[in-house]
């Protein structure tokens, strides 16, 4: 057993030290009828590396990998190129196999990267502070709603129809138990975001308005008027960013005075991974920092006056505050945060802006090509690297059919909103730096075939 160092002799020596005659004696507290007489049945016995690898490769081969074919899916998870050095860094054993940095004297590596991560996220979002990560964007979004309730002592959250339907679904699940009131609707196929409609929903009972930016259909809306209205009712504006690369091209939510900004950080460093692990980003204004969920890393000094970093403000957290904690979160997404920050460090502002404009302009060119197809129109007036096409047919069967032809065409609105017949003709298409002109041409040709 290649991971287990004890030899039979070791075990005998150790049992002798303990004063037990057998291993079974150590399990004496287990009630007799729950003791198993041997290895659990119906499971295979141990296997060597080669056998395990063969098994896993067989499973892996039975998937269509994005890199092997034209690929246009987005809607909350984006395929970006991850530089080789990023994956190397996160595989350094000192990062990979470290624990949560509760012993700061021997965890400065993790702590300093978290401090740098927090600073990068805060600057990207245009807010004062950010935490050391959450599970993912959808759970960060719900935690932000709960945080707004704590701050405003109100229980009504107004969700934009442009918020990712899975994020809405998570919030609805939780709100059912916490008795928060959620106002939410499915989007409509219009060029403008629902900002104007949301204004009317904000009143003195509202804790927060939750707006995705760019939204699920790819539209980019100015949040300034919403922020103003929310603040006039002492409600908060929560901005949700599912594609952080966009903020290399468009104004930060903080610049529009958003109070809490959350997001999905998967785009940088993490990869698609079938939906997880991802990394939730969470930032806010300084005045709300003590209401934040999750771990925070802060600067301090050691007993010789040297700068160092520690986890701080932990009196908000479950291991100190127990049932009065701001959240039950413990383990977060440390290693994904490292991947995010390492990728961001490699980019810097210059690289981020270039990457963002490359994504955007490739998307513009792709949109132009795709709307030249008979039976295809573009919903968006504005977008970053993702836009919604409206076809003259249901898109869901087309997406399935093209997948069989090894073209991953995008996310059909029918998949995301199966109940909303009016959306069935919508197709969300994402284009990143990894999308080639040939990919776009392949999609265009296939769509022409389907719509002819």
């Amino acid at each position: 057993m290649r991971y287990l160092p004890l030899t039979p002799n070791d075990r005998q020596d150790m049992l002798a030290t303990i004063g037990a005659s057998s291993i079974d004696e150590l399990f004496v507290d287990v009630q007799e009828d729950a003791r198993l007489d041997g290895p659990i049945r119906d499971l295979p016995m141990h296997a060597g590396e080669m056998a395990v690898e063969a098994h896993m490769k067989k499973l892996a081969k039975n998937n269509s990998a994005a890199g092997d074919m034209p690929f246009f899916l987005g809607a909350g998870a984006y395929r970006h190129h991850v530089p080789a050095s990023v994956d190397h860094i996160i595989q350094r054993g000192e990062f990979l196999t470290a624990y949560t940095p509760y012993q700061p004297e021997i965890a400065q590596g993790t702590l300093q990267t978290l401090f740098e991560f927090q600073t990068q996220v805060a600057r990207l979002f245009g807010v004062d502070v950010a935490n050391a990560s959450m599970y993912d964007g959808s759970t960060a979004c719900w935690e932000a709603i709960v945080m707004a309730r704590r701050i405003t002592k109100r229980g009504k959250a107004v969700l934009s129809s442009g918020l990712h339907p899975h994020y809405v679904s998570v919030a609805k699940t939780m709100a059912r138990f916490t008795k928060d009131q959620l106002v939410s609707e499915a989007p409509t196929l219009e060029a403008a975001t629902d900002g104007a409609d949301l204004l009317d929903q904000i009143d003195d009972d509202t804790s927060c308005v939750v707006v995705q930016y760019p939204d699920i259909l790819g539209r980019i809306g100015d949040m300034s008027a919403l922020v103003e209205k929310a603040h006039s009712h002492k409600a908060l504006l929560i901005a949700v960013v599912t594609e952080p690369v966009a903020l290399g091209a468009i104004k930060s939510p903080g610049q529009m005075d958003a109070d809490i900004v959350v997001g999905e950080g998967q785009s940088l460093g993490v990869g698609l991974q079938f939906g997880g692990p991802y990394v939730g980003l969470f930032g806010c204004k300084q005045k709300y920092v003590r209401q934040m969920p999750g771990r925070l890393c802060g600067e301090t000094v050691d007993s010789e006056g040297k700068r160092g970093f520690v986890l701080t403000l932990s009196t908000r957290e479950q291991h100190i505050r127990r049932e009065k904690a701001t959240s039950n979160i413990c383990t977060n997404s440390g290693l994904c945060a490292l991947a995010f920050t390492a990728h961001m460090t490699l980019l810097g502002e210059k690289g981020l802006r270039e990457l963002a404009m490359l994504n955007h302009k490739k998307a513009v060119a792709a949109a132009d090509r795709l709307v030249s197809i008979q039976g295809v129109s573009l919903l968006n007036e504005s977008f970053f690297n993702e836009f919604t096409l409206v076809l003259d047919k249901d898109t869901r069967p087309i997406v399935r059919k093209l997948a069989d032809q090894k073209i991953l065409a995008g996310v059909s609105l029918g998949r995301l909103y199966p109940e909303e017949g009016a959306l069935a003709h919508g197709l969300i298409v994402a284009v990143t730096e990894t999308t080639s002109d040939e990919d776009v041409e392949a999609l265009a040709t296939a769509l022409e075939g389907e719509l002819a």
Binding site: L4, M14, E94, E299, T331, L346
Partner: protein, 527 residues
């Protein structure tokens, strides 16, 4: 065991003066391999980048007039600098790869590298969560296979795979309990949690809207069954119990506890953080448990990564299975895998309490955990728990003469050994011993947890340590414990040899500096 540290005898230069090392100052402040690394904000530049990108097409942008017109102020590094920056920082970390990590209730076992290799197969790492299900049959098959392992190992009929970590799994379990009770029109309002529980337990119950009350413990460090029975009643929704418990002991009355809770109309949640002690040897399903989360990053060796990502699938009894969250994977008779989401749930999973996360859970951790399980097999996993328990008992019996072990008379421990600071003198604390252990080259044990023991020290060696490594650790522990018992002042200022001395946590909390500030802003903040 004694290490040979003398080296091969060589002839020494007798005229060589050996200076007093403490007086030696270097120009940089560094000490050979112990090198401080500045922040990227001090060395990088917003104009520098370690990424080369192709030219963008010449098209007009369509950003709706919202172009980012303010500086982002995120510095960049070239690749060479970036690799060195993080490599240098990594060397200031303790990690399993560096040494034994005796952190109780955290199960810091070796992280096999085959797991990493498998997680990086493009068929797992490069697939999108919203791809048509026909294009991800292998991924769904993997989830189903891992689910089968988890159900078989726990003897439970159902499992929810999507929870992102242990605490998220707890939430999943408690929401299922609440859903089941609400479905029978009997919501109830109290969850009982032992004082010795992880902080996530009461935080989770409160997050789900329950009132939290303590379960009393007896002098043996276990649940007081009679007191628990007396408290059960129509207002109690359920209990959250950690088994093996956080005192390192198996709850011998577990089945009786479950029966009592069930008879009173409640449900039993088990915190599976300590599953490593019994995996492959005892099935929680045989103990009457209704829900238990499994930390794949503890028991099944997926890396802790400096604080995550975790993964916390939750196994369910028949009573709770109908309420499990979406999405989940379902195998048809023809061997095809379907994904049950909101759309299809109404047909045959209408009682589900809903969705907890955007996508399918921690796929990257599933691949690693399954790789680990296949490597060990049923026989290897049984050996895992046996060796983990053997190692912990060996530590307990090798240290109980120098450290107070409050429950050493309660019988064998499970996979972790618990000590207190009762024998320390001269005001020395558990924290001092822990920091002394750092100087000996070890990450400290879990400190001040569980709360029921004064100055608790919870030691979990795990099964992936050799006897020699454990003997060395015991030697270090004995030495530091003897110093603490003797009141050695030097421990109060430990660690002396770490990259940093003790850090001022009070200062950090009083005037939080959570992001880097330009030096002038920094000066203002410090005023």
């Amino acid at each position: 065991m004694n290490m040979l540290t003398e080296g091969r005898p060589t002839k020494q230069d007798e005229n060589l003066a050996v200076p007093d090392q403490s007086a030696l100052k270097t120009h940089t402040g560094n000490r050979a391999l112990m090198v401080d690394e500045p922040l990227i904000f001090e060395t990088g530049s917003p104009d520098r980048s370690g990424v080369d990108l192709p030219e963008a097409p010449f098209v007009e942008s369509r950003l709706g007039g919202l172009d980012r017109d303010e500086p982002i102020s995120i510095p960049g590094l070239s690749e060479a600098e970036m690799v060195r920056h993080y490599t240098r920082l990594s060397r200031q970390n303790y990690a399993i790869d560096v040494g034994l990590f005796p952190l109780g209730s955290c199960t810091m076992k070796h992280n096999p590298r085959l797991n990493e290799k498998m997680a990086r197969l493009k068929g797992f790492s490069d697939i999108h969560p919203l791809q048509p299900v026909d294009s991800v049959q292998g991924a769904l098959g993997l989830i189903d296979e891992l689910a089968t392992w988890l159900k078989t190992l726990t003897g439970m009929p159902a499992v929810a795979m999507s929870p992102k970590a242990g605490a998220h799994g707890e939430l999943c379990g408690i929401l299922a309990i609440r859903s089941a009770l609400e479905a029978r029109g009997d919501a109830r309002e109290v969850i009982l949690v032992p004082e010795s529980a992880h902080g996530t337990n009461p935080a989770t119950a409160a997050f789900a809207g329950y009132k939290v009350e303590d379960i009393p413990a007896n002098a043996d460090g276990r649940v007081d069954l009679d007191a628990l029975k007396a408290r059960l009643g129509p207002d109690v929704a359920g209990v959250m119990i950690t088994n093996p418990n956080t005192c390192g002991l198996f709850e011998p009355d577990m089945k009786a506890i479950s029966d009592a809770v069930h008879n009173a109309g409640g449900l039993v949640y088990c915190d599976g953080a300590n599953f490593n002690a019994i995996v492959g040897r005892v099935r929680p399903g045989d103990l009457g448990i209704d829900a238990m989360h499994i930390n794949l990053h503890k028991t099944f060796s997926t890396p802790h990564g400096g604080g995550g990502p975790g993964s916390g699938p939750v196994v369910f009894s028949d009573a709770l299975a109908p309420f499990a969250p979406l999405p989940f994977v379902e195998k048809t008779e023809a061997g095809h895998f379907n994904l049950v989401e909101e759309e299809t749930a109404e047909d045959h999973h209408g009682d589900s309490f809903g969705r907890m996360v955007a996508f399918h859970g921690q796929m990257g951790m599933f691949t690693r955990a399954l790789t680990y399980m296949l490597s060990h097999g049923a026989d290897g996993l049984k050996q895992v728990s046996e060796d983990a328990v053997l190692n912990a008992n060996y530590v307990l019996r090798s240290l109980e003469d120098v450290l107070d072990a409050p429950f050493s008379k309660s019988g064998p421990c499970m996979h972790e050994a618990l000590f207190s600071d009762n024998r320390f003198t001269n005001g020395l604390t558990t924290l001092d011993l822990a920091k002394g252990l750092i100087d000996e080259g070890y990450h400290p044990m879990t400190m001040y947890f569980p709360l029921v023991v004064h100055g608790a020290m919870l030691v979990e060696p795990t099964e992936t340590e050799s006897k020699a490594a454990i003997d060395q650790f015991i030697g270090a522990m004995r030495s530091v414990a003897e110093r603490a018992n003797a009141g050695d002042e030097m421990l109060k200022s430990a660690p002396h040899f770490a990259p940093r001395r003790r850090l001022d946590e009070t200062l950090a909390a009083r005037k939080p500096i959570l992001v880097w500030q330009e030096p002038e802003e920094y000066a203002e903040a410090a005023e």
